[in-house]
Symmetry: C4
Subunit: 273 residues, 4 copies
């Protein structure tokens, strides 16, 4: 406890613990926040199921109070240790953090439960904080790096898919839309069907019935089958290059010693990676 | 406005702006056309939904007049600046461009709305013009190049899939077609089912019910699972070779400077790519 | 016609034309047979659709007579030019070729149409002859070679998938089988469901309803998602090695000249491929 | 028979045959056990189908007695030849082996068939023993090795997918959950839907109906499409590296002679693999 008061006076250290994640204490803090977020998620899950929520009403109320208290303390600490308070408060996560504390307080003022639900949803957005942790696991770094490096190509590919899907959806609407009791009621629905089909999801809520419609569908499926190969090819090529640059399993290809994944030169022998 | 009249006299420059896409002005022209095509798409989407179309009737009418005016001017300009007018008018896009202007004009002559719909569909074909732009983005170039280079192999693979699917579809028709209330009513339907299954789309509108039919289905699925690997392997292998040839991230493997993607030799050091 | 009689006397040449496919005339013969097979397929397709078959009854009858005549002549020629006649007659394709000629002849003797149907099905098996042609297209050769080389690994992977699917199917039967109105009626059905799910086909004819069942399903799906990567990895790795061995696009890595795909040494410079 | 009694006295040899799988006799023993497990699986399959089980009641009873006898003898032999008996009896497979022998014995004591069913299920767990064999096939070794080496990355990827799926599921519940007769009844169901969609399984038991819901679904599908590329990229990259390290088709890159797959140096020329 005494340690906590000492820490409270050392603002830069407190800021480091709360906002960074590179030593033991800051990681412990992040982990605690993560656990609180996961608990708040579970509470939200249970509350969305009326039959189960009825059984555990008391526990849910206690957890609600505890979580609100925790998130409030966390929010105040974050403001307290920020060098430029206004910057944090107005930032994306600053607003999210504030909204996460509000639901319970507002329930004292407002009786309606409907708005409560929407406010509580903001608490779920805090799960994005978890993503921050990925950058500190070696494998996570490689994953994010490969995705980032493939981004440009994948975006272009997305554009390509959207154009394709629009053409196919419109064609299907023309072929199937005139049928009585057709499920292809309008062009956007047909485009939705084209996406469902080309990605091989295939719900089956919208299916062609005419012979020509089925023929076009078959073509779209085999096409989609081939197109699935494109982003796979992109990411595979990127990953293989990435692995080659960084050495197999993060080892330098010259001296075979472990290197950091974000390094451009081997720290042991200076080899360009 | 004065600039426009000057331009109108300089036919070769006008032709360059309209038919090419490699400098600032020609790209601006292409973009304007793209926006008009996208707007005409949105209009078509909304008109296919009767309930929504009723609400925005006035806006849709205005947009229809504006788009017809724009497409007419564009069509006339294209004819005007073409050196060999007949060639453009009789070309694929020449006919499409003409058809894109017609719907409104014909609605003054013909009262029927059914033919109108088909004519308007031609306007959608103009979306193919968008694909032209892909060749000017570096990533798009790599994408199209990889697909083009894999084309031969993928076509052979298609043939292979079609033969396979015919055999499987016929077998399933023999196994399941004799069942009362079977969904495998004829061989083309069974082949359609085989494609839906092998591509892992799996709508579920046609499913086997006999034990032998399910056994064959299970085999087909695991087979399809493996076959999905073939085009992925083709495209991955092509992309990795392509990346190697052009250098990682479009850099020369020798001097590490940026190269053009369609170059065969590095423009900085002459290295064969 | 005279040429045909000359050819009929030159048995070895006739045999070469009919059974091989490596020069212009033998390819022409194969193509003719392929076209006849495709026509017989289309006839079978149409006959499986009673409503359409009624409309084209006369054409179908004529085609049936023509095909039977063609297949009979082909069968007799194959026997005639074989050096060891008994060998061909008793071979797999010899029996299939015989069965392909029978349906019409038997319909004069037997009135029942049911057995006719099964006999006609054998004609469809002749489509396998098409596969023979793949070996003569360069891309087809690479495709078949890659599949052949990956076969061992893919078979082991199949075994692995079968074991996995059995375990998962049995677990799901234990979790969901006790529910009233369950779709998991027995273990084989549950295994069928596991295959449908793991291959991401997902018909939706059998779906879990309990919370634990859905949790296990979710796990199976994400697992299947990862497992789909294994054969892709196998084939990609094989294809990249194959391309490297044979040179990019079938060119020798040393002298950059075109090589044959089944060559182990470059025919221009002797480089080991 | 005499050979069997001799063997029974040579405990270390017996232990080697039963617990290892690296020579002819131990492989034969493993195969016998595998066959018994497969038969016990088939018996369990048939017994889960009441209509079929009725027909083969006698055979099933005989097989049940035979299997129980076989598993009992195997269990006793395993205890007998273990140097530290307690260690085997308390091990995971020791307990499974015991449970596999119990169902029949317990049916003499207890009349209830319900508990019998659960006990018999443990027999199915013995199928995991089959996986042990994979390590002794060269291709199986490469498969397991590639999966093991990719494990870290795939686990991180799993975590990533779970976070993503939670966010998407919650969003969909907010968008679709307010609809009358919605299938998105609570957040866990929505997350289940998100997994079914992102893995492209697409049962179709839960489908969006609102325009915004369908738009988000379309996004999720195209996203899932790209994300499917990540583990494929991981495994492909690992496999290609693995193949390179061990040489193409398990041959040393220097002397081109066959190497063992778990070797780090070529046994013929000492090349580092």
């Amino acid at each position: 406890m005494k340690k906590f008061w000492t820490l409270l006076k050392d603002k830069p250290r407190l800021w480091h613990i709360i906002f960074e994640s590179d030593d033991r204490e800051s990681k412990a803090f992040d982990l605690t926040v993560m656990i609180a977020i996961v608990i708040s998620l579970v509470v939200a899950f249970v509350e969305s199921m009326p039959s189960v929520a009825g059984l555990y009403k008391d526990i849910l109320t206690v957890l609600e109070y505890a979580l609100t208290f925790f998130f409030t303390v966390e929010y105040l600490l974050r403001i307290y240790c920020s060098p430029v308070k206004r910057e944090y408060v107005m930032s994306f996560f600053g607003i999210i953090d504030l909204l996460a504390t509000l639901p319970l307080y507002l329930s004292f003022l407002l009786p309606s439960t409907k708005y409560m639900f929407i406010l509580r949803a903001f608490r779920l957005i805090r799960i994005f904080r978890v993503l921050k942790l990925f950058a500190f696991i070696n494998e996570g770094y490689l994953l994010l790096e490969s995705i980032k490096r493939s981004m440009n190509k994948i975006l272009v590919y997305f554009l390509f898919v959207i154009v394709l899907v629009t053409i196919i959806g419109t064609l299907m609407y023309m072929l199937e839309g005139q049928q009585p009791d057709t499920q292809f009621t309008d062009i956007p629905t047909s485009i939705y069907w084209a996406i469902v089909t080309m990605t091989t999801v295939g719900y089956g809520d919208i299916t062609p019935v005419t012979v020509v419609g089925r023929l076009l569908s078959a073509l779209v499926m085999i096409l989609g089958y081939t197109i699935i190969a494109v982003p796979t090819g992109i990411v595979s090529a990127t990953m293989i290059n990435e692995t080659k640059r960084k050495g197999v399993n993060g080892r330098c290809p010259r001296c075979n010693q472990k290197t950091d994944l974000n390094a451009n030169y081997c720290k042991h022998c200076g080899e360009r990676l």
